[in-house]
């Protein structure tokens, strides 16, 4: 039926996008960009490597094969779930490296997204409902400032205030160096202490986006006829807002939220650098500098995969919330 066809066609689309990206990634890193991982491994004249050793390394990493041969190998391995070995981490499996960096990013980004979403949407609703009020004007200016402020700059300001001046939070890192001696409770507190400033930075930076989308979408909805109708038939103002306006106004934000979660998993490179917080963003940066094809392929596979999956999820949620979509 309609619904099933909708679901299947969306999934097929997502899969095709995924394959296209898989192919694109290969050429992007190996063919279209300069440099190679071997040059990086032998960098700084420091590895003192003879041409023979260099050749041996090239063979070790399978880079002596033709581009087509490498491509087929890559596609085969990827579909078998084998992401290969990282050159930067001297042969460690990409999956292991990835899993080591993943939890930190999920925690940071998850906390920041959750809070920015709650605060941003709440502010957006309130602002849109009382358009032109003091609250609307101040929060509009405030969120525009936060939205346009570079994350690393905001992070540094917070760091200066809360760490350097007040000394409330550690200057950086993910855990204290005595983490292994802490009790569970102390450990949680320690992680929270380290998480606070980077998460606050990201929360503040993300709020603006949610706020602006929610506000404008609510304003659109408030101009609709059914709102007027609702008011005309004497529905309480609070119910007009909560049951009529917000429900419809949330629709565009569902897509936004799903998409931003997808992107956000890529981590926040600049914030991670400012707070020396080792997550996927930093890992990506390292992989690019090191020209680590295998790590880059794995990371981008994950990032694009995340965007596709959340996009798909958005489509389904949207369809669930708004039956008109299914029928279209």
């Amino acid at each position: 039926m309609g619904t099933r066809r909708y679901v299947v066609s969306k999934i097929v689309q997502a899969f095709l996008t995924f394959v296209a990206i898989l192919v694109f990634n290969f050429f992007l890193f190996r063919v279209w960009s300069p440099g190679d991982p071997i040059s990086f491994l032998t960098r700084g004249q420091g590895a003192n490597i003879t041409p023979e050793e260099r050749q041996a390394l090239i063979e070790e990493y399978g880079l002596d094969e033709s581009t087509m041969g490498q491509f087929l190998e890559y596609m085969k391995d990827t579909f078998q779930g084998n992401l290969g070995a990282s050159s930067f981490y001297q042969g460690e499996p990409v999956m292991d490296v990835f899993l080591r960096f993943l939890p930190a990013t999920l925690l940071l980004v998850g906390v920041a997204t959750l809070f920015s979403m709650i605060i941003g949407l709440w502010m957006g609703i309130r602002s849109g409902w009382r358009r032109g009020s003091m609250f609307d004007r101040t929060s509009m200016v405030g969120s525009l400032i936060l939205y346009s402020m570079p994350e690393f700059w905001l992070g540094m300001l917070l760091l200066l205030l809360f760490s350097t001046t007040l000394g409330w939070f550690p200057v950086g890192g993910r855990i204290s160096t005595n983490a292994s001696e802490l009790s569970t409770w102390e450990y949680i507190l320690d992680v929270a202490n380290h998480l606070f400033l980077p998460a606050l930075t990201l929360t503040l930076a993300y709020i603006g986006e949610y706020y602006l989308v929610m506000r404008s979408s609510l304003l659109d909805v408030l101009g609709e006829d059914y709102i007027t109708t609702a008011r005309a038939k004497g529905v309480r103002e609070r119910d007009v807002l909560n049951k009529h306006a917000v429900r419809n106004g949330l629709l565009p934000t569902v897509t936004l939220i799903a998409l931003s979660i997808g992107y956000v998993i890529g981590g926040a490179i600049t914030v991670e650098v400012v707070f020396s917080y080792q997550g996927l963003g930093l890992l990506t940066y390292t992989a690019i500098v090191a020209k680590d094809y295998w790590l880059l392929q794995g990371l981008f596979l994950f990032f694009t995969g995340a965007v596709i999956v959340f996009n798909l999820a958005a489509d389904f949620v949207y369809a669930y919330l708004d039956p008109r979509v299914r029928e279209a």
Binding site: R43, T50, P51, P170, G172, G173, T177, V274
Partner: protein, 602 residues
């Protein structure tokens, strides 16, 4: 009225929750410092470590860590960096100069309890030679055979008389009983140096939270004396600014390789002592010297502006450069204008004929050599070919100092009629370009070892395509270098080393721009006992040998920063409680207000 009660109840609950949290937290904090007074010394590092396997390390923190875990065969003396006994106690050279016999220290055990013997040294050296370990193989030149004749005797025979075994080879000795388990180099590479790092050094690597920190525990049985501290922790930062802030906050005790501007910013901090150590690094500007005479250049092919191989041109360039300005503007004075390529005072040679900054002289030399601007466009032309003096100039994106230096130098060169096309490349791209011999000039740097042998070897013809910056080829230099390796007395060697430096200075395949001062900073309110190496203007940590490592002492009994996070732990606990409280109160108030609205509207 009911509402008032509800608000009150809610506030009370919040307060109780907060108090409870605080009490638990306070109790937890009370017990931890009291029960074990572990003394921890924490160091900040800007690079992460990838492997602690002594055979495959690349990054500074990896070497800094291996230095604590492993020992070298011989070492450098603390006061003057001369060769000093370490695992080998004494040595003698045979009459014919071909055989060196070393007495190896007795009674040393590996961290796992296995006795250490001369066999471990022989094994390590032979493994490096057999497997061709790039980082170390040049320390073992002319080797015919290295054998342990018994547990305390190592015999090293060479194919030509040499004092190379005394240089000292900067090689970490690994345990035979573990390393012999690896089939080959590729198999050994899989071990990342952790867990099961077994060395003979003053510390054992016990914990590695990759990307965050790693921890070493003192080896109380260290043959050179037990370290004063119980633990040595390395913490990774992503940038120098945070590292320096952490030092000022007391989260770490020591910051290494501090950039000049941050170093300056700590002046006047009563808790921090700054140390300006003697330079071990220089920044140089290299000229492509490839000709068909050199094998690698001929085989690979080469392409450079004809002027780079003209000595008069290079002399003119050197006259055009104002090194003092580079030091003052780029390093904020934390450096010295460079001359020769050997930095250690014991071997450094001061050339009597220092080339001064003199643009007028540069112009005169260029005129005389036939580089004349005949078409009046402000750029001189090469005699004969008429090719304009327009050269490609590469600087490094990884080192912003070189980019700034490149800007200054380009300006000065333009002033004397030479045009540069400057390009910033990352190191891997630059390495490719350098391998392909297709460049004119670049700026890069060298970290120079205390012993001059390795550095001087890199300028020999045979090093083109391996270590040579420029593919400089001078048969007289090659000859003198190989003589210098086989001289028998120290005086002879000193004379040869000085002459080699003078040759390089006069031929200038590269111009040494400046020497970088080694900037370190530590919390002097907590720590003492650092020893400088060398005694005058030396570095105070990460030395050749364990001079500071085992002597660092906390000033008060409860010193040490491992506690750093605990120090500041009290305030965040309150902040957390405050935050949780605020959230609860706000949530409660909103809930109440909403109820009230409902009631009002109903």
């Amino acid at each position: 009225m009911r509402r008032m009660v509800r608000v009150l109840a809610l506030s009370l609950a919040t307060a109780m929750l907060a108090a409870g949290v605080f009490v638990v937290q306070a109790a937890a904090q009370d017990e931890s410092p009291a029960e074990d007074e572990k003394v921890t010394f924490t160091v900040g590092m800007v690079n992460d470590a990838i492997t602690f396997n002594p055979m495959f390390m690349i990054e500074t923190p990896e070497y800094a860590t291996a230095d604590l875990v492993y020992d070298t065969f011989l070492t450098w003396a603390q006061d003057d960096m001369s060769t000093a006994p370490n695992l080998a106690e004494s040595w003698e050279q045979s009459e014919d100069g071909l055989t060196w016999t070393f007495d190896i220290r007795e009674g040393i055990t590996w961290h796992d309890g296995t006795p250490f013997t001369a066999n471990d040294i022989a094994f390590t050296f032979n493994w490096i030679i057999d497997e061709g370990v790039g980082a170390y193989i040049d320390y073992l030149p002319f080797t015919d055979e290295i054998v342990a004749t018994d547990d305390t005797t190592l015999v090293w025979t060479t194919t030509t008389p040499t004092s190379a075994p005394l240089y000292p080879p900067y090689i970490y000795i690994v345990p035979e009983h573990i390393f012999s388990g690896y089939a080959d180099k590729a198999d050994a590479r899989k071990w990342k140096g952790f867990p099961d790092a077994v060395g003979t050094g003053p510390f054992e690597l016990v914990e590695w939270r990759r990307g965050d920190f790693w921890r070493l525990e003192a080896n109380p049985d260290y043959w050179g004396g037990a370290p004063v501290v119980d633990e040595f922790v390395f913490r990774v930062f992503q940038n120098e600014e945070t590292m320096v802030q952490a030092l000022q906050q007391g989260e770490i005790d020591f910051a290494d390789e501090v950039p000049p501007s941050l170093f300056q910013s700590m002046e006047g901090d009563p808790n921090i002592t700054l140390n300006e150590g003697r330079a071990t690094t220089f920044i140089q500007m290299s000229f492509n010297q490839c000709t068909d005479e050199v094998d690698y250049c001929r085989d690979i092919g080469w392409n450079h502006h004809p002027a780079t191989t003209d000595p008069q041109f290079r002399l003119a360039v050197e006259h055009a450069i104002d090194r003092q300005v580079l030091v003052d503007r780029i390093k904020l004075g934390y450096g010295t204008p460079g001359t020769t390529v050997i930095l250690d005072p014991r071997w450094h040679h001061d050339p009597p004929n220092v080339v001064t900054h003199d643009p007028e002289e540069a112009r005169r030399i260029l005129e005389e050599a036939g580089y004349v601007d005949s078409d009046g466009d402000g750029v001189r032309e090469t005699p004969g070919t008429g090719e304009p003096l327009e050269l490609r100039f590469i600087v490094r994106t990884e080192n912003p100092d070189t980019i700034t230096a490149g800007e200054f130098i380009s300006e000065w060169l333009r002033d004397v009629g030479i045009v540069t096309q400057t390009e910033a490349l990352n190191d891997s791209k630059l390495t490719d370009t350098w391998y392909s011999n297709d460049w004119d000039m670049y700026i890069w740097g060298w970290g120079v070892e205390p012993d001059p042998n390795f550095q001087l070897s890199s300028y020999t013809t045979g090093q083109c395509g391996t270590w040579s910056d420029t593919c400089y080829s001078n048969p007289a230099y090659d000859e003198l270098f190989s003589q210098s390796q086989s001289v028998e007395t120290v005086e002879e060697r000193e004379a040869a080393v000085a002459e080699l430096q003078q040759m390089l200075y006069d031929d200038r395949p590269e111009i040494v721009l400046w020497y970088e001062t080694y900037l370190q900073a530590y919390r002097s309110d907590r720590w003492t006992g650092f020893v400088q190496q060398p005694s005058e203007q030396g570095s105070i940590l990460f030395q050749y040998g364990h001079y500071s490592d085992i002597n660092i002492t906390p000033i008060s009994a409860d010193g040490g920063s491992g506690a750093g996070s605990e120090d500041s732990g009290g305030i965040p606990a309150i902040v957390w409680i405050g935050l949780v409280g605020a959230v609860v109160v706000i949530g409660g108030v909103m809930l109440l207000r909403r109820r009230r609205e409902d009631e009002d509207e109903a």
